[in-house]
């Protein structure tokens, strides 16, 4: 499981104001590639062991956040640090790619 479920309501407190890097996975139940991404994110979360946060945001339930960050394709993965987007991926990404980016951001 991902570390947190991100919503329109908690986006600011859980992601923007977080002291740790946060990777947000914009996904939906009807998106096949999102299903491919999920197990990879679980692996990433396991490896990181809390040093960065993995969050999942369902775009069906939280359209405001998807629109706020200009998401037009899913899965989109955005890494936030200190409240800003530092890296963005469109389409399914490998564990190594994601860990590589997140490890650069972990102090």
């Amino acid at each position: 499981m991902a570390d947190i479920t991100v919503t329109d309501q908690n986006f600011d407190t859980e992601v923007i104001q977080s002291g740790k890097p946060v990777l947000v996975d914009f996904w939906a139940a009807w998106c096949g590639p999102c299903r491919m991404q999920s197990p990879i994110l679980e692996e990433v979360a396991k490896t990181l062991d809390g040093k960065a946060t993995i969050g999942k945001l369902n775009v069906d339930d939280n359209p405001a956040s998807a629109q706020r960050f200009g998401v037009m394709s899913i899965p989109t993965l955005m890494i936030f640090k200190n409240g800003t987007v530092v890296k963005q991926f469109i389409g399914v990404q490998s564990k190594d790619t994601l860990l590589g980016e997140l490890n650069k951001l972990i102090n």
Binding site: A28, W30, C31, G32, P33, C34, R35, M36, P39, I40, V59, D60, A66, G70, V71, M72, S73, I74, T76, I90, G91, V92, S94
Partner: protein, 338 residues
């Protein structure tokens, strides 16, 4: 640990090969790839896979995977990076890790062929998509285009037409290759306009897609002459030159065909379309024996990577079954010879 067969790919052909080979008493390994499941993961409703009146592509693939895993097939969710066939057992590399197999089934399928226009890379995921079922949600109420003329273009059009009131289907020829029933379905949709004989020269926009640069080809009898200029005028576009026009669009779905995934297998013989060539072998009575052999003894193939003709989930699954049966027989025959 030497596997009897290493199956590269996890679409209908790869998973079916896994299911059959394990039930034939072989020890298979599936290298599923990071993006497992193949093209069906990018579709919505499947209504032509026997046994299911209606099922989504991702659900169908999950069921196939569950079945394979339930039967004990090992699956590695990583990309095959290299295949070494000089010596047996063959070496299948996944990064630094090497898996050994007595035989290999290449079932890597095919991926989206992109438009190959200058701004496409920049705008992919920013209005340029190859997956209407994935991305249609973001284009609700917006003007979009679909590019292509085959079955997948018709499918993409039907999906996007559910949310967009303004869909232009752009095809470079004057006739569709898609199944007539699908063409009829799409043609009947009032929100869909067809544009034949038109080429996409570029996709336009700085941060998100704003329009398409289109070029009309030489006119043919079937073309609705003047339809592009009319559409451009209707949707507030402009003429760029004699034959080039800008059509405002927020999204474009590319469905112009597929490229077989063969780049990691340099030793395999390919045909003119890039599909792996099968060597159909005849037995002593002149009957076809093996159907799924490649040019390399011990390497077999299944699914869309070798089949550019049928390209259905059910045919891919059937090829996977044939490859597994061929592998089992080939192993028993070669084992008795050596």
């Amino acid at each position: 640990m030497i596997y009897d067969v290493i199956i590269i790919g996890s679409g209908p052909s790869g998973l079916t090969a896994g299911i059959y080979s394990t039930r034939l008493g072989l020890h298979p390994l599936i290298i599923a790839g990071q993006t497992w499941g193949g093209q069906l993961m990018l579709t919505t409703d499947v209504e032509n896979y026997p046994g299911y009146r209606k099922i989504t592509g991702p659900e169908l693939m999950q069921k196939m995977r569950d079945q394979a895993e339930g039967l004990g097939v090992e699956i590695v969710d990583a990309d095959c990076t290299r295949l070494e066939t000089k010596e047996r057992p063959f070496h299948v590399a996944v990064g630094d890790k090497i898996f050994e197999g007595k035989t290999v089934i290449v079932a890597t399928g095919a991926d989206t062929r992109w438009l190959d226009v200058p701004n496409e890379g920049k705008l992919r995921g920013r209005g340029v998509s190859s997956c209407a079922p994935c991305d249609a949600f973001f284009f609700r109420g917006k003007p979009v285009a679909v590019v292509g003329g085959g079955d997948s273009a018709m499918e993409e059009t039907q999906v996007i037409a559910k949310v967009s009131p303004d869909v232009v289907l752009i095809h470079r020829r004057d006739e569709f290759r898609a199944q007539p029933a699908m063409v009829a379905k799409v043609s009947a949709l009032p929100q869909v306009k067809l544009l034949y004989n038109t080429r996409v020269v570029d996709v336009l926009g700085d941060t998100v897609l704003t329009g398409l640069l289109l070029e009309t080809g030489t006119l043919s009898p079937k073309q609705q002459v003047g339809s592009l200029p009319e559409l451009v005028a209707k949707f507030g576009g402009e003429q760029k030159s004699g034959t080039q026009w800008i059509l405002p669009r927020s999204g474009v779905f590319v469905a112009i065909g597929l490229i077989p995934n063969t780049d990691r297998f340099p030793g395999l013989t390919l045909d003119a379309h890039g599909n792996i060539v099968r060597y159909e072998e005849k037995d002593g009575q002149g009957m076809l024996s093996y159907f799924t052999k490649t040019n390399i003894p011990g390497v077999f193939t299944a699914g869309d990577v070798h089949d550019g003709r049928y390209k259905q989930a059910i045919t891919a699954a059937a090829f996977g079954c044939m490859a597994a049966l061929d592998v089992a027989r080939w192993l028993s025959e070669t084992d008795t010879h050596t």
